[in-house]
Symmetry: C3
Subunit: 342 residues, 3 copies
């Protein structure tokens, strides 16, 4: 990382600077660890106690915290967003080195933009199309007719099934499997038979897919992620799911087949969402919840139970099992009172 | 896909045809999307409203729905099963292209049937055996002494550990890890020591294993899937588990060590099943349930809690914590009533 | 496996032998399956019934069980630990075959110890450092500047992100992704922007990481596993998590960002632990629990609910929804009693 002056950063990112415009920034760090050449930020109020003692060369802060900042301050209405922009500017994502590694296996019928980068040990099937500046990292496998948009990056060891399609700037982390068969089975007398999965997966622009996440191809029609969907690691998206634009889903959550999730939803980690549901826009699901019915109103929903000391929890479990009986006893107590009160 | 006439389909799949035997089918589609050359089906009653308006060239339906079908009908006792057969007939799974890709690394001592297909970037260890017409897709790794039965397909990037064995027609999706070490640890004074995992994984005929699923090798004896077991994506099967024939397990479910699951079970998504349990045949576990005890009777079991609006759920959580106290108050109220009633 | 006499085993592992010191052991087996040349062990009291009938050549047992042993006995204070040591001695982990497979792609600037083994289809980036006797199995990808300590083993298809660092003797199973980007997003007006993930992952000596587990790189500082941490399969560790030495985490558990877990903790399978928490040392979390608050006292915690017959469970769910109303009724009953009692 080369250096930038605070003046340059303030101008480029349209931030107000309080302090020394000539001060040089060479690194990025937390409030606690930053030194005089580092930029830090304060977004989460939990860390406000670290502001007074920071040795950071400058801190990105909201206007109402700026006075507490002991050194230079870059003032932003949303310090976290400003941080994201500056950090990306100082640590740009790797650019594609055009060309194919000699160990890559690329079908003759594939169309690879000359500005794209095809890494070591890659396998690209017939009629695939790889767009400008796309990066296909080491060990990736693209089946026939896969289509990768401009400026996509498949970091490494990603699988893209036949005919699946990624729009521009999709970022996919290692171990992701897109377009494996959905879990389609029909039961015939005494055994299962496989139901062919003929749909595709289509992924909109600016999506990011976390490591080891799986997105199955549709049974007949497609599984769809609209633009700017953000999936964390180890998320499971079943066949024919549709996820609306700008929805974010945290790690280990699974969504069963044919469910549709709206736009601007936020689904926390380790949730399970049943199949064939409709979740409307702007729904928030809290951690480790089970969604078994459609949700028609925006808002926050949940069913996660916070852990307690095991002995207390065991008592709760016992009480849960007794609820039915106790309810009957309460009803009978009410009757007695009623009788006695007359 | 080449075309078939409805007469040909009716004859081959032993279905009753109501309509034009010469009508040509070239594609497969949903009721809503089908055009005049497409075949559709109606199995889930939720979609019956789409039947009247379908433009499909023909619809596979049950006899009691056939009259509502506006065009040609293929009548089946189980339309979904008929659909699965016809769709597989019209979209056959890829056949093995015999031979080895030049980039594959195959140990000299491995025995590969000449009709098998070994893809790009594959690595096959010493003494492996690959059966007739098996497909080992790009990026797969087989450790020494692995055995792959006839007509198996490892789609891509699958790992098969040493000595593990697949019977015929096993289909394994990308990212699956079969035969990694089980989680065997012994605690010695102040640190863990590894317990060697010496068993294998054995997988019966006609199993299907979903993307990124993991099946650990046994500690001493083998981990076993009997025939026709169907695992969805991101399922975790620990060491020495045994899963009975024809059991299906949905995504994100985990089964801990040495548990045995019966035949014809159906386990929904995101369940956790503890170790050393016996689950009998024909048990159904509903979504996101925790199984902590053996199950000796067939039937449906569960402990998943449907999400509610977060405020309501918070109140339930508060009440859960108060149950003990309230139960004591109920008991004391009963005593008062009892005293007053005398 | 070559044979050992019981006398040799007793001496090397400092166990008391009751029986024939010249008896030869050629294999390892369970009590039930062992034959006269096999060694077995009894650690779990659940299997004590199998002791009387075992045909094992010898059994590792605790002193108080030795008399029940029908044949030779090796006596240990902790039979499972003794078993682990002997089994590892008789089944040693594979040693590195020094050298690089010709299909491996290794950057010129990488420093690979001559005693290390680089497998088929491996890709190693610029400036990586691979220590003595390390094994990089087939299909692994190491990004630039990754560092692998002495005697590490990456079994196959493992991903190590740029600048990530493994200390000595780390064992990583197939499909593991270490050092993918954390899930860092900032919301700007109407869309997400990515927050660069600039930290690393550092993994201490003697850690073991199960198949398809994911450990994200830190946002600014590092994600850290201290020494002897043991992770099972499909565990998800988010950015900036810190896990203390000797902690073991079972399959399918997820830990959200910036949470710190203490030393000597044991976390069961399928748990979800929220972000920004502090879990102290020696905490046990039971299966399928949700941890939403910091834990400051050692001990056992949980919130998993054991599955019941679905009909019973449905009644519990109905009652849960009614709790609020019933509590109000109980309060009013108490008031009536109070009024009547005056």
């Amino acid at each position: 990382m080369t250096h930038r002056t605070l003046g340059e950063l303030a101008e480029r990112f349209e931030l107000e600077l309080r302090g020394d415009a000539a001060h040089r920034i060479r690194g990025l760090a937390t409030l606690a660890a930053a030194g005089p050449e580092d930029l830090a930020f304060l977004a989460n109020p939990a860390y406000i106690g670290q502001l007074a003692d920071t040795r950071a060369g400058a801190v990105i802060v909201a206007a109402d915290q700026a006075e507490r900042c002991p050194g230079n301050a870059l003032i932003s209405r949303d310090p976290y967003v400003a941080w994201a922009h500056i950090a990306a500017h100082l640590n740009p994502a790797p650019a594609a080195t055009p060309g194919r590694h000699p160990s890559a296996v690329v079908a003759d019928s594939a169309s690879v933009d000359p500005s794209a980068s095809i890494g070591a040990q890659v396998s690209i099937g017939e009629h695939c199309r790889i767009g400008p500046r796309a990066i296909i990292g080491p060990g990736c496998v693209l089946e026939d007719d896969a289509e990768i948009g401009a400026d996509c990056r498949l970091v490494a060891q990603v699988f893209i099934g036949r005919e699946c399609r990624l729009d521009e700037r999709v970022l996919i982390h290692p171990g992701v499997v897109i377009g494996a068969d959905g879990f389609g089975l029909a039961f015939e007398r005494d055994h299962w038979i496989k139901v062919p999965q003929m749909g595709r997966v289509r992924i909109g622009a600016d999506c990011e897919i976390g490591a080891n996440t799986t997105i199955d191809r549709g049974a007949i029609e497609d599984t769809v992620l609209e633009e700017d969907v953000r999936l964390d690691n180890q998320v499971q998206i079943a066949h024919n799911v549709r996820i609306g634009a700008h929805t974010a889903i945290a790690g280990c959550t699974g969504i069963a087949g044919s469910t549709s999730v709206g736009r601007y939803c936020m689904i926390a980690g380790a949730c399970g969402i049943a199949g064939h549901l409709q979740i409307t826009d702007k729904v928030v699901i809290t951690a480790m919840s089970t969604v078994l019915e459609s949700i028609t109103e925006p808002g926050q929903y949940g069913s996660g139970i916070p852990a307690r000391p095991q002995r207390q929890w065991q008592r709760v479990l016992v009480r849960l099992g007794q609820l039915d009986g106790w309810f009957r006893r309460l009803r009978s107590a009410e009757k007695s009172i009623d009788g006695q009160g007359r």
